[in-house]
């Protein structure tokens, strides 16, 4: 069985993570930022799976399930927040919804 080396998996995860990060930093639309966040979570999950498979331990998969749950909760709350923000400000531009004074 040809096994994919550990480094390849980690490189993929790192590339995904950077893509997500760049999405968050570059985009101003809140929905795109949320999606980029999901990509970063997936990249983290991939890294855990790869590491778990490499050492033959179950912790990596358990962590991935935790991350999935976290992502589901986050999406639910995040989407609700985005809906409210849109209703309140009439925009989804993250730079324009500041309510800070001073």
């Amino acid at each position: 069985m040809i096994s994919i080396p550990l480094e390849h998996g980690l490189y993929l995860a790192a590339a995904l993570f950077l893509l997500g990060l760049m999405g968050i930093l570059g985009r101003r639309n809140l929905i795109f930022m949320l999606m980029s966040l999901e990509i970063m979570l997936n990249a983290t999950g991939l890294a855990f799976i790869v590491a778990g498979a490499r050492w033959g331990e179950a912790e990596g998969q358990i962590f991935f399930m935790l991350i999935l749950t976290l992502a589901a909760a986050e999406v639910a709350i995040g989407l609700a927040l985005i809906l409210l923000i849109y209703r309140h400000f009439g925009t989804l531009d993250a730079d324009r919804i500041s309510e800070m004074r001073g």
Partner: protein, 657 residues
């Protein structure tokens, strides 16, 4: 039973402590219960004690109770010890019983006061101090009671402290008596340095051994003690506080005048009589002071319009009689007069108190008038008291004591016709002034409406004191009427008997007759001038010298004015003039000298490195704050970038370092 002697002063003291330390305000009923209860227990105990004292044959006729040693420094060991002999026995009997009656009266008299509890606390402390004073075995312990009495008089005269005039009267009483007390303290120091003890019995013994009659030290010691007695007993020249002392509530006046404070001087002289016998000139001075005071005060009493001031001057005058008796060596006669005076003066004050409260605090006798029918109790009480004070013959207590004094003044080798004449004129004046007050206040047209009438708690003391003012003199029957000198023979267990040069029944009877006539004459004069023929008084007053004399007597012979001019004004002037004297200037200069270098140093050194360091810290904090506050933009993506950059930096550090 005698073992319980310590309880006699302790009970009122305990009452005082209970009342003053009670948390919060006690109900009036409870305050009165503690106040009166402690004194009545003490009074009952005193009766029991005297029963046993008279029955048991004590060695030296004294009973000593040493409670504990107060101080022990080398040979000087004054003890807290009580000394009961016939003199202190008579004193504690009179003090406790008269105080009890006054306390009982006060429960109703003071019932409208808010400071009921404070009043009874002070009254109890007063009684306790006086009991300590008379029971003390040691002059130092006596001095404790002596000062306690002074303190209580201050507290009680200024009882209604909201009025500044009352505070002034209280301070005046305190300061004037303090002049005498200073003399007494000096006397005690002299005695203890020369005789090495302050125990009274021992002191008297040593004094008569060490000092011959008329020696300078004995003279000085006796004179200094006399100074204390003069101050406390309001005798010439320290008498000015007593009329002002009327600022306190009436029961307080009754207590001060009848049973406690002013008689302390009489007691002191009687107690240290050995010392006075060693100093004949001082002894004579006692009689002379008494004679002058009694005349002077009687004249002032004659023209007062305030009923309480009449009684105040009357007390001064009667204490003058006691001093007169002490001065001629008639020790027991003085104590006898103290006892009867306590009865009738308390009665007079309490009767006056009934009048004053029922007329809404009216003190002026000329505004009273016609109270005979409305206040029968006060009317009869005042009449009996006045009759006793004026020594109406045979039926009043005052007659027996005053007659005894006058007779002994006449027959004593130290006395003589001149002193007797002073007492004689005093008797006439006494009858005139007291019946003047009685006639004006209780007869004539009705001028005011009577408010509150006395209840049973005020009635009982009046009745009992009336009774005592009549029968109180029968303990000492005159040679002409039974010849049973029960009282003197009791006192002669302690005090020496007067050695009269002769004993002529004819002369005695004649003098008695004259004295009786003169007091009756005084009453008739008062009746004529102030009731039946008021026009006589008018014509008399229209004459300039008479009205001038009247004004002079009214202000108490101008003593206050003279003292003000000679003592108060110069002191005030000096204090004002001297307010920036060299001591003030020096202390101001010193202050400047000390403060200035520090100020200079502080100004010069305000930029040293410590200051700079702290200023730098402050600057850094401010700059840091400004820099960091820039980063708080509220832009989410900036934060995210920051977190990412930070994370990358941390990872780089972990990987490469």
């Amino acid at each position: 039973m005698l073992k319980l002697l310590w309880l006699v002063p302790t009970l009122p003291l305990a009452g005082f402590i209970l009342l003053i330390l009670a948390p919060g305000r006690l109900s009036k009923r409870l305050s009165a219960f503690i106040g009166v209860g402690s004194v009545v227990l003490s009074a009952l105990l005193t009766v029991g004690l005297s029963m046993e004292f008279l029955q048991s044959e004590l060695p030296g006729n004294t009973y000593r109770q040493i409670l504990w040693t107060w101080i022990a420094i080398a040979d000087f060991t004054p003890r807290i010890a009580l000394h009961l002999d016939s003199l202190s026995l008579v004193m504690i009997l009179v003090i406790t019983w008269v105080s009890f009656l006054i306390h009982l009266y006060s429960t109703e008299f003071m019932v409208d006061e808010t400071d009921y509890q404070r009043f009874f606390a002070y009254m109890n402390l007063f009684v306790a101090s006086m009991l300590l004073l008379v029971l003390a075995d040691d002059l130092l312990f006596l001095y404790l009671g002596w000062e306690g009495v002074g303190l209580c008089s201050y507290l009680l005269i200024g009882f209604w402290y909201q009025d500044p005039a009352n505070g002034y009267a209280a301070r005046k009483a305190f300061l004037v008596t303090r002049v005498g007390d200073t003399a007494m303290a000096l006397g005690l120091l002299l005695l203890v340095t020369h005789l090495g003890t302050l125990n009274i019995q021992l002191l008297m013994e040593r004094a008569s051994q060490a000092w011959p009659v008329g020696s300078t030290l004995a003279l000085v010691a006796a004179a200094l003690l006399l100074g204390g007695a003069v101050g406390k007993s309001a005798q010439l020249p320290l008498q000015t506080w007593l009329p002002n002392a009327m600022a306190g509530p009436t029961p307080v006046s009754a207590l001060i005048h009848a049973a406690t404070m002013v008689t302390a001087g009489v007691y002191l002289i009687a107690r240290t009589h050995v010392l006075f016998e060693l100093a004949p000139p001082v002894h004579t001075a006692v009689a002379v002071i008494g004679a002058f005071t009694l005349l002077l005060a009687a004249c002032s009493a004659l023209v007062q319009t305030d009923i309480k001031r009449i009684l105040a001057y009357s007390t001064m005058s009667q204490i003058g009689y006691m001093f007169l008796a002490l001065g001629v060596g008639a020790w027991s006669a003085a104590i006898f007069h103290f006892m009867t005076h306590a009865f009738f003066k308390a009665l007079l004050f309490l009767s006056a108190g009934v009048v004053i409260t029922s007329l809404q605090h009216e003190h002026n006798i000329f505004k009273m008038g016609g109270l005979r029918r409305q206040l029968p109790l006060a009317f009869w009480g005042f009449l009996i008291g006045a009759a006793s004070l004026a020594s109406l013959p045979l039926i009043t207590a005052g007659f027996y004591s005053k007659d005894l004094i006058l007779w002994q003044v006449w027959s004593s080798p130290l006395g003589g016709p001149w002193l007797w004449a002073a007492g004689f004129i005093g008797a006439l004046l006494t009858a005139v002034y007291i019946f003047r007050g009685w006639f004006i206040a209780f007869f004539g047209p009705v001028k005011t409406t009577v408010g509150k009438k006395p209840g049973i708690l005020m009635g009982i003391p009046l009745l009992l004191l009336s009774l005592l003012s009549i029968v109180g003199g029968w303990v000492e029957l005159l040679p002409m009427g039974g010849d049973q000198p029960f009282f003197s023979s009791l006192l002669h267990l302690t005090l020496p008997e007067l050695e009269t040069g002769y004993r002529s029944p004819g002369v005695e009877l004649g003098l008695q007759f004259i004295v009786s006539t003169v007091s009756l004459l005084g009453i008739v004069l008062a009746y004529l001038f102030f009731l039946s023929k008021p026009q006589w008084r008018q014509t008399l007053l229209e004459k300039t010298p008479v009205s001038a004399l009247r004004r002079f007597w009214y202000v108490g012979w101008g003593f206050d004015g003279v003292y003000h001019l000679l003592l108060v004004r110069p002191l005030q002037w000096f204090a004002h003039f001297n307010r920036s004297d060299f001591i003030d200037a020096f202390s101001r200069g010193m202050g400047w000298l000390l403060v200035w270098p520090f100020l200079w140093l502080a100004r010069v050194n305000r930029d040293d490195f410590i200051d700079a360091f702290y200023r730098g810290m402050a600057w850094l904090a401010q700059v840091g704050h400004q820099g960091l506050s820039r980063t708080q933009t509220g832009l989410v993506r900036w934060y995210t970038g920051g977190i990412a950059a930070g994370a990358a930096l941390l990872i780089a550090m972990v990987v490469f370092l």
